[in-house]
Symmetry: C2
Subunit: 254 residues, 2 copies
DNA sequence: CTTGACTTTGACGCTGCGTCAACTTATATC
DNA sequence: GATATAAGTTGACGCAGCGTCAAAGTCAAG
């Protein structure tokens, strides 16, 4: 029989820990004195070793109790679930590391760090908004990898690059509107130039440009109401015009 | 001016969170009503965005407060420190994942999982004890990588392998004692056989066997009192005998 | 003046113990 | 048997970052 201090020294845990384990019903002493003193036997040492075995693997005490006391408990299943949990934690940390590294890079060489901070936050906001609006659709169509990569590209842009990206988008919409209002043909030279701008604009976020993807994107503009609404907001017909122009130009280049 | 609910909706956090931030002095409202109602302005929105910016990167609120309120605070330094912290967390998780994966593998195909569990714990104990005793010395001499690899090798042993490993060690010590008691020469055939056993024994944990390392190990036996004590515990002279035998045999093989 | 929507403070809960504090017991010494 | 000391006991608070009641006060609208 071992006193609480003896067991704590054998197992390398504090007496407080043993009392706590008693309290939550994880490890009861073999018996208690009439004065309330706790005494542990060999069995309890074994139990404690098992507890520590799982604790070292990062399991919470509630799960450990289930493993050790629920008869016929699915041990293998519990371990695999715990493994998945750990991998999620790891993914989360990897994400944080990525974010912090990017922030450090972005703030280096920039005069005002607070400025860089705000710019970062701004880009993140833009990406998040975009994700909320088109994320599901894009992921279904191009896959998670492509979309994640595109987002990474945006997040890594410098202020100059981002400004160019925004201006490009604006210029496309402007020239589209003018073309549609002037009733220009989607086969015209101006339409071709707009398509080239659009291609450049896409290239700033896509991992790699392909004609297929470009045409698929164009198709989205007329088939998905949210995309269509985006281009037709001020002048109706822009989405259709852009789609035709892309279909002509990108098909003809071949 | 925004009420607490308005700000919480703008920023996507709960009102409770805002009250908590007020309480810990992280974000005070622009002013409070005579009734205690909190009201926030544009400045506070900005502040909150900054807070959330760092919170998303996994920083604790205390650090964030320092960053935002301590004038001339070393922002870059804080970010890099945080990065190191995250990397440590990642290392810890990687270690846990490794442990759990090994446990899952070890328990698969074994009849009694509790048995496998105990065996794992047993090996871990052995490795830990060894680390406590010789770890620092070994790491200085062979480097962390080698030692870690050796430990991994032991931890991955099956029960049969581990038994063989233990028996080999015991046999070496037994035959050493007999040889020394019988006053056999370190040049003798029996000494040679012991050296071969010792080589096999080392091979079970070392990443790769080299004669240099073998001789260095032998040298440890006579130069380090803890190693010497290990072999001389029952019959004095065993450590010296083994060292000489290894020096002869390993040198002569060339 | 009443209703209903908001807001306030206060307090417990969660995780796994560390760390007092105030007391009671066991053990060794004289 | 008295006493000093070591070891044990049961609370209870603290930590981080809020979620989640509860009880009570406040505001704008009708």
């Amino acid at each position: 029989m071992y006193s609480i201090r003896e067991l704590s020294e054998i197992a390398g845990v504090s007496a407080r820990t043993l009392r706590y384990y008693d309290q939550i019903g994880l490890l009861k002493p073999a018996y208690t004195n009439e004065a309330g003193y706790r005494f542990y036997g060999e069995q309890e040492i074994n139990m404690l070793q098992q507890i520590l075995f799982y604790r070292e693997r990062g399991m919470d005490l509630k799960s450990i109790r289930k493993i050790l006391y629920d008869e016929e408990f699915d041990l293998a299943g519990a371990l695999e679930e715990h493994l998945r949990d750990l991998e999620q934690q790891k993914n989360r940390i990897d994400l944080l590391i990525d974010l912090v590294q990017r922030s450090i890079r972005a703030m280096k060489g920039v005069g005002d760090m607070r400025d860089a901070e705000k710019f970062q936050a701004f880009k993140e906001n833009a990406v998040k908004q975009h994700e909320d609006m088109y994320g599901a659709e894009a992921r279904r169509k191009y896959g998670d990898e492509e979309v994640d990569e595109a987002q990474r590209k945006v997040l890594n842009m410098t202020e100059e690059e981002y400004e160019r990206f925004e201006n490009l988008g604006k210029e496309i919409r402007e020239r589209l509107k003018e073309a549609v209002l002037a009733d220009v043909s989607p086969d015209s030279e101006e339409a071709g130039r707009i398509v080239m701008l659009h291609k450049e604009w896409l290239g700033m976020t896509w991992k790699k440009y392909t004609e297929e993807a470009h045409k698929a994107m164009a198709n989205l503009y007329i088939s998905d109401e949210r995309f269509q609404a985006y281009y037709d907001r001020e002048v109706p017909g822009c989405a259709v015009f852009l789609e035709q122009a892309i279909r002509n130009k990108v098909g003809a280049e071949k």
